[in-house]
Symmetry: C2
Subunit: 446 residues, 2 copies
C-alpha cells in the first residue's frame, strides 16, 4: 500500500498535452509537486511539459511504483495488463464507464477483477478521483485547484466511495483551513476497498482520526467490522442510502447494495464506530477528536455570558444524556470569592451580560482544576461590549488541565477573528450550541 | 406602537459624553443616523456631540415620541414617571437590574408595572437591547458596530426575549448579508410582550416573515396563540428551555417559567407556528419563506450532478415525509431526447459527473413546467470541472415556473462566488442536503 502514497516513480497513462483534459491536470499535479521520476504514457505524443512520452509502461526502463490510468474504459484492460506485466505495485484507475453504467460496464469490470486476482498489482478504483496526500503530495485529483482546494497537512484521513462527495468535502476542509493527512476516493473498489483502507490508515503515523463517506460496503460486512475493531483510532462514518428511496438511489448511483440503515447503525455502535448524520457532523466530530483529549466521564460544565445560548446548550446536553451537575457548595464558594455576587452559579454558569475575560479565567480554572467536571463547553458572546479579546488566551491556557474544551462562538468579522485564534490553538469552535454539545458527547463517548 | 419605530423626536435619558458608555453609544447611533429632533437627558452635562442637554424630559418644550432609558435601575422609576408626565407615547428601558437579579429587582419592576398601568405610555423592556429598524434607522443597540453588525433592509422581522442571543443572531444575519425589517429585544417584557409584537409585525408592511427567540412566554399562552392565529404570515420560533435542566436554567436567566416542551410543540403545530430546533434552522426557514412561493403539494424533484449528495437528500426527504416520485415515462422521454442516455433518470435525477449547465437547464425546465412536481431541490457541485458557471443563470431563470426552488451548494471561493449570485437573485442556498430538504419541507407545509 505504501507505494500508493509514497511512490518514487510515477506513470500517468493517458497523460495529455491539452489543458483542461483530465490526463493533463493529473500529470500537471505531479509535475508541479516536484516528482522527478515522472513518465507520461501517450502513444500520440512525444513529450508533455518537456518530459519524454512513452507508448506504453513496458517501454519505460526504470521501475514504476505507481501508475495512474486515465484512458477510456475500453482501453483500460489493455493498459492494466501492461502494468501487471511491468510488475507495477500500485495502480489507480480514474476512468469511469464500468459497473456504474450498466451491464456492459459490469463485464469490463469483471475482466479487470480477474486480471488483478492473478497478479500482485494492487488497484484503487475504477470510477474514482484517487488520492490526495498532503504530506507526500501525491495528487491524482482531476479537479482544478481553483474549484477544489487542497487542504494543508493535518492528522485527519478521509476515505470516500463517491468522488463528487469526496472532493466537495475536501474543498470544504480547505475552505475551513482544516488539515488532513490522506484522502482516498476508491470508487467501485474492485480491489482495494474501505476495509483495507481503514486497516492501513489505522497504522498510518500521520493519521489520528479516520473519516469515511460510504454508500454501500464494497467488502464483506463481517470482514469490515473485524478490521475496524482492530483499529485503535476514532472512526467516523457518514453512511448514505438509509431510506428506501435512498437505497434505490444508491443502487443506480454506484451499483452497490446499500442495506438497511438500522443494521448499519447497530453494527456501528457495537464496533465503536461514530455515526455522522451529515457532513457537518462528520467534520465537527473529526475536529473535536483530532484536537481534544477524550473525557474521563460525562460531567460537563457550561460557561457562558449569554444566558440564552447556555439554555440551548443545556437542552441539547440533557437530550443526549450528558451530565450537567451544579458545582458543589465548596466550589461555588471558591468561585464567588473572586466574582460579583449576581453571577448565576448553577450549570450553566452564567457570567451575565457585563462579563469580562477575568470571570471566564476564574470559572475555567476553578471548574477544570476541580474533580467535579470532565469537560467544558465555553460560550463567549463577543458581541457583548465588556468581554475583552484576551478571553481567548484564557480559554487556550485552560488546555493545561488536560480535559476536553469545546467552544461555541459565532458572528461577523470581530467574532471570526477570535474564533480563528482559538482554532489555530487547536480549540474547536462550533457555530451553534447544539453542534458544540454533540461534539462534546463524542469526546465523552469515545 | 408606530412611535417606537418611526419617532420624529427622541430623548435619550442617561445620554453620556464618555465613549464606550452605553448612554453614549445609543445617543451616537441616533446622531449618526441623522435624527434631527434629538434630546440628550443628563443633569450633569451641558451638551453632548454639540447637542444641548436637558436635566429632565420635562424641561424639553417639544413633543417627544420616543424615550430611551439608560440609567441605573434605582433611578428608572423617577425618569419613567417624568416620561409619563410628559405624555411620551413610547419608552424603551435598556437598564437591567430588575426581576432577573432577584427579589429586590422584582419589587422595582412591580413599581414600574403599576406606573405604566395607570398611563398611556407604552414600554419595551427593561433588561433589553431594544430596537433596530433597518428602514427608519431607530437603533438603541448599545453594541458597537465593530462587534455587532447591523443587517441591511429586508423583509424578515425578528423578536428576541434575550438581548445576547438576539444581538448574536443579528450579527450573524449581518455577516450572511441577510436583510431584515425590524429587530426587537423585549427583555423582561413588563408591558409590550411577544403577543403584541407578533400582532404588530403581522400588520407591518415591510415584514414578510416573523422569527422569534423565546425562553418563556411573557403573555398568557391562550392570548398569545389567539393573536398568532390571526397573523397571515409565517412565524418561526426557536424555543429554549425544553429540557428539565434547561427549564431551570431559563428560570435563573430571565425569571420566567419555561413550561413543558411537549405542550409548546403541540400548540405550535396546532396554530401553524414553525418550530426551529436551533438558530441555523431559524434562519434557514426564514430565508426560504421570505424568498420562495409555497409549494402546492409535496412532490419534489432532486436534480444533481453529485450522486452521493442526491442520495443524502433522498434519505432526509423520505424521513420527513416528502414525496419523491419518479418522472412519468412521458416526462422521461422528453428529457432523454435532449440528453445523453447514461444520465440516471430516477428521482434524484443524477446528471452524472460530466454534467454541464445545459443538462441542468433541460431537467429544470421539463420537470418544473410539468404537472408532476411542486418544488425542486438543485444540488450543483461546482468542484466538478465540466459544470459551467452559467448553470447559475439557468437556476435563476427557472423561477419563472412559480414553484419553490432551493439549492444545496458548498465549497471554497469558486463555489461561494456562485452561491452569492444565487442568493442575490433570491434563491436560498444551503450547505448540506439535509438542511436544504428541511427548508423545502417548510415550504411544502406552509
Amino acid at each position: 500500500m505504501q507505494s500508493f502514497f509514497k511512490p518514487k516513480s510515477v506513470a500517468i497513462i493517458g497523460a495529455s498535452r491539452e489543458e483542461g483534459k483530465l490526463g493533463h491536470i493529473i500529470f500537471r499535479n505531479f509535475f508541479d509537486n516536484g516528482f522527478k521520476k515522472l513518465y507520461p504514457i501517450n502513444p500520440n505524443a512525444d513529450e508533455i511539459l518537456g518530459i519524454r512520452c512513452y507508448k506504453s509502461v513496458l517501454d519505460v526502463k526504470d521501475n514504476i511504483d505507481l501508475a495512474v490510468i486515465v484512458v477510456p474504459a475500453k482501453v483500460v484492460f489493455q493498459v492494466l495488463s501492461d502494468c501487471v506485466k511491468k510488475k507495477i505495485k500500485s495502480v489507480i484507475i480514474i476512468s469511469s464507464g464500468f459497473s456504474e453504467v450498466g451491464e456492459e460496464g459490469k463485464k469490463l469490470e469483471e475482466q479487470l477483477k480477474q486480471l488483478i486476482s492473478k497478479s500482485k498489482t494492487r488497484v484503487i478504483g475504477p470510477n474514482c478521483v484517487g488520492i490526495y496526500d498532503a504530506y507526500s503530495k501525491v495528487d491524482t485529483l482531476f479537479l482544478s485547484k481553483v474549484r477544489c482546494g487542497r487542504p494543508k497537512k493535518g492528522n485527519i484521513s478521509f476515505i470516500s466511495q463517491s468522488g463528487a462527495v469526496g472532493s466537495t468535502i475536501l474543498d470544504i476542509l480547505y475552505s475551513k483551513d482544516i488539515g488532513i493527512s490522506k484522502f482516498i476516493s476508491y470508487g467501485n473498489g474492485i480491489d482495494v476497498n474501505e476495509s483495507e483502507l481503514i486497516e492501513f490508515l489505522g497504522k498510518d503515523k500521520t493519521t489520528k482520526v479516520i473519516i469515511a463517506y460510504i454508500e454501500g460496503l464494497r467488502s464483506n460486512g463481517r470482514i469490515f467490522l473485524e478490521k475496524v475493531k482492530k483499529v485503535k483510532k476514532p472512526i467516523i462514518i457518514l453512511k448514505s442510502g438509509k431510506s428506501n428511496k435512498g437505497t434505490k438511489a444508491v443502487s443506480s448511483h454506484t451499483g452497490s447494495l446499500a442495506g438497511s440503515s438500522r443494521i448499519y447503525s447497530a453494527a456501528f455502535r457495537q464496533f465503536g464506530i461514530i455515526e455522522a448524520n451529515n457532513w457537518e457532523e462528520l467534520l465537527d466530530y473529526s475536529i473535536a477528536l483530532s484536537t481534544q483529549p477524550s473525557a474521563k466521564d460525562n460531567r460537563i460544565v457550561i460557561i457562558t455570558d449569554g444566558g440564552g445560548f447556555g439554555v440551548l446548550a443545556t437542552d441539547e446536553a440533557e437530550k443526549l444524556g450528558l451530565n450537567i451537575p451544579e458545582p458543589s457548595e465548596k466550589l461555588k464558594q471558591r468561585i464567588l470569592q473572586k466574582m460579583p455576587s449576581y453571577i448565576s452559579l448553577h450549570n450553566p454558569i452564567d457570567l451575565t451580560g457585563d462579563a469580562n475575560a477575568e470571570r471566564y479565567k476564574i470559572a475555567l480554572t476553578e471548574c477544570l482544576s476541580s474533580k467535579e467536571y470532565d469537560a467544558a463547553l465555553v460560550i463567549p458572546l463577543f458581541q457583548v461590549p465588556t468581554l475583552e479579546e484576551k478571553v481567548v488566551e484564557h480559554i487556550i491556557e485552560a488546555k493545561k488541565f488536560g480535559k476536553p474544551i469545546v467552544v461555541c462562538s459565532v458572528g461577523s468579522d470581530f467574532s471570526e477573528k477570535q474564533n480563528k485564534k482559538l482554532i489555530e490553538a487547536a480549540i474547536p469552535v462550533f457555530p451553534t450550541p447544539e453542534r458544540a454539545v454533540k461534539a462534546l458527547r463524542v469526546l465523552v463517548r469515545y
